[in-house]
């Protein structure tokens, strides 16, 4: 940590920390949920196994993070109450992860953009001042390195595979690119967390993300899309239409039978 950051370090408020940890948790939860829907339906058994692995890791991360968020909040909400009994606007995942499994190219493009982001974020958090978050991040970082290897490999294979796979991959990338803007656009919560030394600032995440993603796109012979005008802010609870359906499915049993133990 730089001297300037040390001097400026202040404790993050419980609200900022709660929302921030939920952002991380929801990113993993919704992405894990989306991958879960593909198991048994992917292009070959090996992909079923690979996507199941990643999905399992992400659900595992979400459980640790949600439990921690519940403790910060201090309102006795456990991982399941937070996962199954919040509504759309109380979910703070980046809008990118709720985008649908349109085809395998979308799945891989979404995964690549998220893996590269989580890789940098977890790396920072693992060195940050919040011990609990640092531990969760260190564990998650190992998993994310594997995820990034998987998505980068597939992005390259599909980009540099056949004419059809190249087109599909480019189409997915173009469609998903607008959702990446919020990943690097800090708001008050991000700034407060950064000032407390829990995470670094998002501009440094952006630099490394750019480098990693550009490398993969180049090898994959894919064109980096231009940034577009409209920005999404799922991390503030402003989602696309897709999240509602994802949650309706995910939360169905808990909502239908309130108070039951499973």
């Amino acid at each position: 940590m730089s001297a300037a950051a040390t001097v400026m370090a202040t404790d993050a408020g419980a609200h900022a920390k709660f929302v921030y940890v939920l952002r991380l948790a929801d990113a993993s939860l919704i992405l894990g949920q989306q991958l879960g829907a593909l198991i048994g339906h992917s292009p070959a058994i090996e992909q079923d196994l690979g996507l199941a692995n990643i999905s399992l890791d992400l659900i595992g991360q979400a459980r640790l993070l949600l439990t921690y968020a519940g403790e910060i909040e201090g309102a006795n909400r456990d991982e399941d109450q937070l996962a199954f009994l919040r509504s759309e606007s109380e979910f703070y995942n980046p809008t990118l992860v709720e985008q649908p499994n349109t085809d395998f190219a979308f799945v891989i493009a979404r995964q690549l953009l998220m893996d590269a982001w989580q890789l940098e974020l977890y790396d920072q958090l693992a060195q940050g001042t919040d011990t609990r978050l640092a531990e969760i991040a260190a564990k998650s970082l190992k998993e994310t390195k594997y995820h990034f290897g998987y998505s980068a490999d597939w992005a390259i294979r599909l980009g540099d595979g056949t004419e059809e796979s190249h087109q599909r991959m480019q189409r997915a990338l173009d469609a998903l690119w607008p959702y990446t803007y919020e990943l690097f656009d800090p708001d008050e919560i991000d700034l407060e967390i950064s000032r407390a030394g829990i995470a670094g600032d998002l501009s440094s995440v952006r630099q490394n993300w750019d480098r990693r993603v550009n490398e993969v796109l180049e090898q994959a012979t894919l064109k980096r899309p231009e940034n577009r005008f409209y920005s999404w802010y799922g991390k503030r609870g402003q989602h696309s239409e897709h999240l509602g359906r994802v949650l309706a499915e995910m939360q169905y049993l808990q909502r239908t039978y309130p108070g039951a133990q499973w």
Partner: protein
């Protein structure tokens, strides 16, 4: 990547000079009787090979199709812990499928060819997966009853005469036993839950009990492959023996749950020390086998859709691998020119 050559049964297996077929057969049976393991390169009768290809590939297909009914609940699992366990379980099934296709390949047939048979509808898979998972309790019932029945069937296969199959089964059985426990644990939770959950559990038992008994196959009198498979020690117990063992094992578990087995004829027989149970509906069994079960069409449609929609991905992977090989070859050529 699977080559065509794998699809052709090796000629040297078919004709070994000097020793006649009868003698080879006798020696083969002697090895089986001595409890020796048969390995891929050993001589074996064509019928033994074909029986194993049929059985192992059906088993592999069952694992892969079996991912669907439970996979149906991954996105709706009621807690994150249950979701994680279910994902791991469905993943295990995919792993078993891959593992079993590999075991079948040691007999000279490719996975691609076998999957082609499944998609064309000419290969069978376990009928049980043609029943629907309508509630979360079905996930519990599948673990408890279907995996429970699978274990009964599969534990003897760990001693099957064909080495690669036997070894695959050792690993698979360990995982199945974990699956069975997690299924029963779901049932315990539901049976002790709200009245609605208890009803859900009872209805799931009603749905899965008879199909689970059918998993052991036709009764011994009607089982066309059984006798020869027993002689070859591919099979160690008869269908009816295993089915009885399953009933004896499972009835007390249902009692512990406070659930009722949907069989008015079920009763304990002091004399034989076994449960007696009612007649299985063999017409239903035959109809489901023929493709007329509640979910046969859905299951095959899902497998075909995944295969078709994944075609461009598999083609891309192959094209990329070829490009890489060509690049590597070009590079080594350049190195030679430079040096």
């Amino acid at each position: 990547m699977y080559t065509q050559a794998l699809d052709q049964l090796s000629k040297e297996h078919e004709h070994t000079p000097q020793i006649d077929e009868g003698e080879l057969n006798a020696r083969f049976q002697q090895r089986i009787d001595n409890e020796e393991r048969i390995e891929p390169k050993d001589w074996m009768p064509d019928a033994y090979r074909l029986t194993l290809i049929r059985q192992i590939s059906q088993h592999a297909h069952s694992e892969v199709v079996g991912m669907l009914p439970e996979g149906n609940w991954i996105t709706r699992a009621p807690t994150l812990k249950r979701k994680a366990i279910l994902i791991a379980k469905v993943q295990d099934e995919g792993g078993h499928g891959a593992y079993l296709y590999s075991a079948a390949e040691t007999l000279g047939v490719s996975r691609e060819h076998l999957i082609g048979q499944l998609l064309a509808g000419s290969a069978k898979y376990s009928s049980i997966f043609n029943y629907p998972t309508l509630t979360w309790a079905d996930v519990g019932a599948i673990g408890w009853l279907v995996d429970g029945a699978a274990i009964m069937n599969q534990i003897p296969l760990c001693r099957c005469s064909y080495g690669p199959y036997a070894r695959a089964m050792v690993r698979i059985c360990k995982e199945e036993s974990f699956h069975q426990r997690q299924g029963y644990e779901i049932m315990i939770t539901l049976a002790r839950g709200t009245p609605e959950q208890k009803r859900m559990a009872q209805e799931a038992l009603n749905r899965w009990w008879w199909p689970a008994l059918m998993m052991f196959g036709p009764s011994d009198a009607d089982s066309k492959h059984s006798a020869q498979s027993m002689r070859w020690k591919i099979k160690r117990f008869s269908n009816d023996e295993l089915r009885q063992k399953f009933v004896d094992f499972t009835v007390p578990q249902a009692e512990y749950l406070g659930l009722t087995i949907p069989d008015p004829d079920l009763r304990w027989d002091e004399e034989t020390q076994h449960y007696r149970f009612g007649e299985i509906n063999w017409t239903e069994f035959q109809e489901v086998l023929k493709g007329n079960g509640p979910c046969n069409r859905d299951r095959m449609a899902a497998r075909r859709r995944a295969h078709e929609e994944g075609r461009w991905v598999r083609e891309a992977a192959q094209a990329y691998a070829e490009k890489q090989r060509k690049r590597a070859a070009d590079n080594s050529l350049k190195v030679e020119v430079v040096s």
